[in-house]
């Protein structure tokens, strides 16, 4: 990956078939960032669950809408932003799936899994644009991006792009 490609952006049609496309991109980017196979799978799952939320809950399964994804490899972390065109949600209002009374619920584990697999999870409603979730996975000090992908490189990329 060259410095210019330390950021990957893609806009996908809001269709469940594109969940696997997002998974494939996330697995490749996570591998390039230097995460091991197990961590790659966890990142892939977090993106999978975020895509399902964006398509199913955010965009209400409307294929005329889209989901925007941005992957950025920093020196110390991978940051993933996923934006739908929905009205957003408050993660504080999601019941705890580990509570005894919720343990056998059929749904309600997606956000919990994202939080379990990533180091940071944020939700932001952007007026007129939709809802954006940010997922962050930190690289341990022992592993570094395979090629390129530093903050400085991205700043340079932005200033010339």
């Amino acid at each position: 990956m060259t410095p210019e490609s330390s950021v990957v952006e893609v806009t996908l049609e809001s269709d469940l078939k594109n969940v696997e496309v997002a998974e494939e991109i996330s697995r490749r980017v996570a591998g390039t960032a230097g995460f091991n196979e197990e961590e790659q799978h966890r990142i892939e799952m977090a993106v999978h669950e975020s895509m399902i939320n964006a398509i199913w809950h955010g965009n209400k399964n409307d294929s005329s809408k889209s989901v925007w994804l941005r992957f950025q490899i920093h020196r110390d972390r991978l940051e993933i932003r996923i934006r739908d065109q929905g009205n957003g949600f408050d993660p504080k209002h999601i019941p705890d799936p580990l509570a005894d009374e919720n343990l056998l619920n059929v749904s309600g584990r997606g956000i919990f899994l994202i939080r379990s697999f990533m180091d940071e999870f944020r939700v932001e409603h952007i007026n007129g644009k939709g809802t954006e979730v940010t997922l962050v996975k930190r690289l341990s000090s022992k592993i570094q991006p395979k090629q390129g992908g530093s903050d400085r490189e991205h700043e340079s990329h932005n200033s010339t792009g």
Partner: protein
């Protein structure tokens, strides 16, 4: 790869060899219909062999829970066999590992149904 399932009858136990993805959409729907179909035939002792399941998401976990409770309501039991590390980890994280009866040995798993059904 979407979900595939092969059904075997071993004594009174219906063994379902599942492979592929149990995710929102086709995989979950297939699993739901499969369990419903078995229950309609009176097969209420179900062993899901998940050895070749490559991917399971939150909806797939929900479908396993739904199958588990649905079979139990009919007076039967649904158990899990040969969890991959990924599925094992997911059930641990979601605290469902202790809810499901999980086995690593098919013969012992089938034997555990016989004990339950004759009790």
């Amino acid at each position: 790869m979407s979900m595939k399932a092969t059904i075997r009858q071993v004594d009174s136990v219906t063994v379902v060899d599942v492979s592929g993805r149990i995710t929102l959409g086709e995989g979950c729907t297939q699993l739901r219909e499969l369990v419903r179909d078995q229950l309609s035939k009176g097969n209420k002792w179900v062993l899901l062999n998940l050895a070749d399941v490559t991917y399971i998401d939150s909806s797939g976990i929900g479908e396993l829970v739904s199958a588990f409770t649905g079979v139990a309501k009919q007076g039967g039991a649904l158990k899990l066999l040969h969890l991959t590390k990924k599925v094992h980890d997911l059930l641990q994280i979601t605290k469902l590992y202790t809810v499901f009866d999980v086995h690593d040995d098919e013969a012992r798993a089938i034997g555990s149904f016989e004990k339950a059904s004759s009790a």
